[in-house]
Subunit: 344 residues, 2 copies
Amino acid sequence: MKSYSLPAGKKILALSGGVGGAKLALGLSKILSPEQLIIAANTADDFEHLGLSISPDLDTVMYTLADINNKALGWGLAGESWNAMDALETLGGDTWFRLGDRDLATHLERSQRLAKGESLSAVTAHLCRRLGVSHRIIPMSDDAVRTKVTTADGELAFQEYFVREQCQPAISDFYFDGIEQAAPQQALMDLLASDELAAIIICPSNPFVSVEPILRLAGVRDAMRNSAAPVIAISPIVAGIAIKGPAAKMMTELNIPATAIGVADYYGDLLDGFMIDNSDQSLLPSIEQLGLDVCSEQTVMKTLDDRIALAQATLAYANRLTQKTTQKTTQQTLSAVADTSGEH
Amino acid sequence: MKSYSLPAGKKILALSGGVGGAKLALGLSKILSPEQLIIAANTADDFEHLGLSISPDLDTVMYTLADINNKALGWGLAGESWNAMDALETLGGDTWFRLGDRDLATHLERSQRLAKGESLSAVTAHLCRRLGVSHRIIPMSDDAVRTKVTTADGELAFQEYFVREQCQPAISDFYFDGIEQAAPQQALMDLLASDELAAIIICPSNPFVSVEPILRLAGVRDAMRNSAAPVIAISPIVAGIAIKGPAAKMMTELNIPATAIGVADYYGDLLDGFMIDNSDQSLLPSIEQLGLDVCSEQTVMKTLDDRIALAQATLAYANRLTQKTTQKTTQQTLSAVADTSGEH
């Protein structure tokens, strides 16, 4: 495979939720140096449980890049043991959120460091360093944002809905508690304002509960629009189903078509380009009708090669979009020059 | 073995630290019903670690009575795994206090319940119930008392001294932070004031850091003196060495003879009877010279039978002391009657 080479000094920003986003983030990390890639992860599904501060999406990305993630489960650590959970069950404790013995160490260390006043980004940087992750993973914010889901069963914290209730209750609404007060991560804002930014990649994560919280942080959406770098989203919905998680079910319940078109329409003019799966090629015209640039690739990532190939394809797409914009700008400049010339 | 039968309605109070105390507590639990035995455990070596509330002595007694204690290590749980600790080491966390995976569940559940406002005694009762411990184990106090040890290396929390520093630094002093403000457990005070109390047994635990904190709680020492029940201590020092823990080393450093005599002298007139090991029989005259009733038994408990035998011997000794007191009281009453008669 020919390795994509990003121009010197250029950087890629990836916005990620959990599993799906982490797969693409891993692919990107295999073709980009630690200086070339920053992954901003959703923290709105973080929660406090058993007295521990748990950051599911951050950990999924971190464990994935450290190559210690549990590929069978899709969360947690490979080769995990469950002795603490078993003992907790004996003691009548809460065991619906399964924390493996090794995974517990991550939460113990994070919780302790946060309690001592360290920021979530400092803690994440520390954990990544200890796990040998050299690419930079940053929480979207150091402030607490908590997704709350309104269901027929009442309001639930996201993990209660997602894990405890197995996404069974129908969703009528959701909101991000604390989003108004939360400051976006400074490194994220700095990168969005930087000329070095070559592309903003919205990973194939849940648009509503994984990506939206990042976009809702004060100034992020405007900074993305104002950035010269193209914004590309990869559809997490393929052939009408979500590869992982409740995105498709949520879309249906929220009266959004559970298709790549629904996702494209949801992101709307925030995007410069949208990528769908080859199996959804029939949707290309409808998405183009939304006024979006769109392409299709093999977006379902089963193997590491798939992840790397999608990363390559995404960067190549970003490059095409950049050149198109440059051409357009050049043409505009030329015609402006022509117009000006004509005036003389 | 002939089972000791405590008179109906009578109760035994055992004051216990960790391992040594737990052994005798287990023996007592095998010959006394849950209604006949209350074990008050030291909590001055409790501490907060990794954000968890840890009660080493309480847990040792609880795990021992649940028969899930690690007999090889002398602390923690049998068949324990250490995956969380191993992972924590990778993350650069504190691992000097080894918390097994199953043991972690105890501390997670306790910490959470305390954080929700439950008392330590309520949490302990819950944990005991879940672990099938039917005999009552109560923390000496629901309030925080923390043993601080003054050493050549400065002041250390007890577990730092005991576990992290392996009792290496020489002790010049120690104190119990919070002891003045801590209320003794109400169930303990009620029992000490009760006519139902048949004996107060000070288990073979460290007199300075395991038993002394209980005795220092407001009113406990007076209540013990005022109780009609005999107070018996079993020497934790046998042949000049501590069966477990740093008691002998501490005694030497505190200029107290590291012998059963030193222990007897330390408890002094709080005791009605003192029990030493058969191997220390040569010390009997010296201890009697202190004005104490003393007996010798096999106090070193290697097997469950040893634990039960010592429990039997202790209760039998308590019974002998009670009868002696009753005879004395009867004689005093008789001579008082004689005196009164003479006056007429």
